[in-house]
């Protein structure tokens, strides 16, 4: 199809789409209190002892959505590994030889010290965000991504080899599967112990003095999510990094 034709088709369509979208917006109620949201906001603390209502929705009321979401992440990581696998499987050995061992960028000692010094706090920060999911904003997902950047700091500070050792793929893959599978297993525990899949069957803890353990299954699911996200994003980032570096070697 010729380019002007394509553009014309799109412009006609875009005007139509904008009109449709605009008409829908014009009929939407402005600011209003949502019934669903209010119910959850009111119920999450008395029922589940969870202070952050968003976490309650994510890991309890609509926890089944999040199970699907975790597996979208899981399968995208698997898919990306399958797609980029040439470096992983067939040419693995050649390319491992070809990668010039050494530093990521020509770093000064100051840069090294700083990046390595940052790794510890990053990990602590990530873990903090993961485990306080049901109390304050944050949770397994947000903390997990923070944690996944820690290996990158190692790469920046140290060398690709150390990075490679830290993110040794089979181990991380197993961790990822444990995280995703763990979510499902916690659901199954509820299924067997109670009667519903993902039922919150663990002790809820003290409602008035919430700690990182209050909320029954929520902290457990939160942790599983944290593990899954950390491992998943580490795998993704290291897969792309390997693509970039593997090629640098043989040119």
């Amino acid at each position: 199809m010729k380019y002007p034709l394509r553009l014309g088709l799109f412009l006609v369509g875009a005007i139509g789409l904008a009109i449709l979208y605009g008409l829908a917006i014009a009929r939407m109620p402005g600011e209003h209190e949502s019934l669903y949201g209010r119910l959850i906001n009111q119920l999450s603390q008395p029922q589940q002892h969870i202070r952050d209502a968003v976490t309650a929705v994510n890991f309890d009321y609509r926890g089944f959505d999040t199970l699907g979401e975790e597996f979208i992440l899981f399968i995208s990581v698997t898919g990306a590994i399958v797609l980029l696998r040439e470096t992983y499987e067939k040419k693995k050995e050649e390319q491992m030889d070809a990668i010039t061992p050494g530093r990521a960028v020509s770093q000064t000692d100051a840069v090294r010290t700083w990046t390595l010094a940052l790794t510890g706090p990053t990990v602590v920060f990530g873990v903090y965000i993961v485990i306080h999911g049901q109390l304050t904003p944050g949770g397994g997902f947000q903390g997990g991504v923070v944690l996944a950047t820690a290996p990158l700091l190692i790469y920046l500070g140290e060398s690709f080899e150390v990075f490679k050792r830290v993110t040794s793929t089979p181990l991380i893959e197993i961790t990822e599967a444990i995280g995703a599978g763990g979510y499902a297993i916690i659901g199954i525990i509820g299924w067997l112990a109670g009667s519903w899949f993902l039922q919150n069957v663990f002790p809820l803890g003290d409602q008035n003095n919430p700690s990182v353990f209050t909320g029954g299954t929520v902290p457990a699911i939160n942790l599983a999510t944290g593990i899954e996200v950390t491992a998943g994003f580490t795998l993704l980032l290291s897969a792309f990094l390997q693509q970039t570096l593997a090629d640098r070697g043989d040119s």
């Binding site: 952050d52 968003v54 976490t55 965000i129 904003p137 944050g138 949770g139 997902f141 947000q142 991504v145 923070v146 996944a148 950047t149 990158l152 994003f233 993704l236 980032l237 792309f240 990094l241 693509q243 970039t244 090629d247 640098r248 040119s251």
Partner: protein
């Protein structure tokens, strides 16, 4: 509609989001686009924060402003290097 400080703040961050999004689309060079994407991600996070969604804002910072642009950059670095090598090869062929 009263124009208090909050409303002005909200409106300006929305305007920033719209402008940043447009710039991201209209930037044709993928490298500068990635920088734009990161900025756009930050603006979105700011917007979530102002619209009382701290959980989402945190996610958006770590994903939209850091992890995603990082992945794009790594992919681009791979593609760029490939292009460079192809051009080199072409140059050599032309010489010989």
């Amino acid at each position: 509609m009263s124009f208090d400080v909050n409303t002005i703040l909200q409106l300006s961050v929305l305007a920033l989001v719209a402008v940043a999004g447009t710039l991201v689309v209209l930037t044709r060079d993928p490298f500068s686009q990635t920088i734009g994407l990161s900025f756009f991600g930050l603006m979105l996070a700011l917007m979530f924060f102002i619209l009382q969604a701290p959980d989402v804002a945190l996610s958006q910072i770590v994903v939209g402003a850091v992890a995603l642009p990082l992945m794009v950059l790594l992919a681009l670095a791979r593609i760029r290097r490939q292009e460079f090598r192809r051009e080199q090869k072409k140059g050599q062929e032309e010489k010989s």
